[in-house]
């Protein structure tokens, strides 16, 4: 028997066996063969481990892809939130400024030709003097000694003027003193500034010896000075003290105007004698 014929003699039965196995396993089966069982049992732990690793890899990959997408989305949302926040802050600021200007324009409307609206350019540097610089000067008919107000009340008076700027001494400046009146009793008082050292407050000194001053009293301008017309709101008494030996009484005044937030003011260029009543209704 040659080698070729020997191979055919072996291959023939193998093919027959394979064919037999195929036929035997084609139809419905009640049980696996022993070889299948043994192979499956032997491979199962390995497959289980590998499947777990593969699942892990797929899971991690999916998570990475998802996280990358989420990070991008997060970044975009964060940017959007930031933009919206900035936009909101700008809108609120514009709204606040608009409201402030609207009230000033309203003040101007109620007192036509009597006021000049001006923007605060800066506060004088340093902590000792309470003065602001506004962007209107002699070119806009602003003169030394004119009163400066906001819709809330008295700011101060013009101390110095250049062509396009003016320096306003606030009522809280240590050198400021204005004639006031207690709204409740009509008693005349002197309002003296205490500067930044006094945390932007002022001192109320009654001129009469029998002073009747209580916490919560409103102080308005007396109209006795040449600078401030009568009836402009100045502030509210937030504390009352007795002077030495109990002979004098004085109060601490919280001005109505928030000087730290001051952006726009009105200079009273030609106020009528009844400006306070026309604009502020004669009461705080």
């Amino acid at each position: 028997m040659g080698p070729g014929k020997w191979r055919w003699a072996v291959l023939g039965p193998i093919i027959l066996i394979i064919a037999g196995i195929i036929v035997a396993t084609t139809g419905p089966r009640d049980e696996l063969g022993w070889a299948e069982k043994a192979f499956r049992e032997a491979l199962a732990p390995l497959q289980s481990g590998v499947t777990r690793i593969a699942d892990g890899i797929v899971g991690v990959t999916t998570r990475i892809v998802r996280l990358t997408r989420l990070a991008k989305e997060n970044e975009a949302l964060r940017k959007e939130v930031e933009e919206l926040r900035t936009e909101r802050a700008a809108l609120l600021e514009a709204q606040r400024e608009n409201e402030e200007l609207r009230r000033l324009v309203d003040l101007e409307r109620r007192a036509p030709d009597q006021v000049q609206i001006a923007e605060v350019i800066y506060r004088t540097p340093g902590n000792w003097f309470s003065t602001i610089i506004i962007n209107k000067g002699s070119a806009h008919n602003v003169e030394k000694g004119m009163a400066v107000v906001t819709p809330e009340g008295v700011v101060g008076h013009v101390r110095l003027v250049t062509r396009h700027t003016a320096e306003v001494m606030l009522i809280t400046d240590t050198k400021s003193a204005l004639g006031g009146r207690v709204y409740r009793t009509n008693q005349v008082v002197l309002v003296e500034g205490q500067g930044d050292a006094g945390r932007g407050k002022a001192l109320v000194k009654p001129l009469a010896s029998e002073a009747d001053l209580v916490v919560g009293d409103y102080i308005i301008t007396s109209g006795l000075s040449e600078i401030y017309p009568k009836g402009l709101p100045v502030g509210i008494v937030e504390a009352v003290y007795e002077g030495r030996y109990g002979l004098t009484t004085y109060g601490q005044l919280q001005p109505f105007v928030e000087f730290d937030r001051l952006e726009w003011v009105a200079v009273l260029t030609k106020p009528h004698a009844r400006f306070g009543e026309e604009v502020y209704g004669g009461h705080p």
Binding site: Y122, P125, N127, K175
Partner: protein, 170 residues
């Protein structure tokens, strides 16, 4: 040429300081404001010594006085003294230590403000001393110490640049 550039650099620094101080600082910080010019003066004294501090204090104080328009010359004088003291102290301290500018700035601030309160009284401006100490001098000492620590590296670099320009006659 080096002199003109030196003057331009110093002028730019001082004008920037006065603008920032009168706008941003007075707007952002309620109550006692940080004094950027003092921080610049103290830093100049620390970087260049006694006379540099004094000269910057004089020039910077003048600019502040011009903007304030009251007691013109007083800030100049107090700021110059603060610069002198900073320069004097700087000679005894290791300026690379980050705490040194804080200490110098705080000391210069206290000297400047106290001198101002006391001297202003002599010129008829009565500033309450105790209230000033509590509400202005103490917070300012803190602010200005920190501000000097922030400003000093920039002033030190500018000072070295000017010294280099002068030595090479650029």
């Amino acid at each position: 040429m080096a002199d003109i550039r030196k003057i331009l650099i110093v002028a730019a620094v001082l004008v920037s300081a006065v603008v920032v101080q009168s706008t941003l600082f007075t707007k952002l910080v309620k109550g006692a404001h940080p004094d950027l010019m003092l921080a610049v003066t103290a830093s100049a004294g620390l970087a260049g010594g006694l006379w540099t501090g004094c000269a910057i204090g004089l020039a910077g104080g003048l600019l502040l006085d011009l903007l304030t328009g009251r007691l013109v010359g007083l800030t100049m004088a107090t700021m110059a003294i603060a610069g002198l003291v900073s320069g004097r102290l700087a000679g005894r301290l290791y300026k690379e230590n980050p705490f040194v500018p804080v200490v110098i700035g705080a000391a210069a601030s206290a000297i400047n403000q106290l001198l101002y309160v006391v001297t202003a009284r002599a010129f008829g401006v009565v500033i309450p001393i105790v209230d000033s100490l509590i509400n202005i001098v103490l917070p300012s000492v803190w602010y200005n110490g920190l501000l000097t620590a922030l400003v000093f590296p920039l002033i030190y670099r500018l000072y070295n640049h000017i010294v280099y320009m002068e030595s090479t006659k650029l």
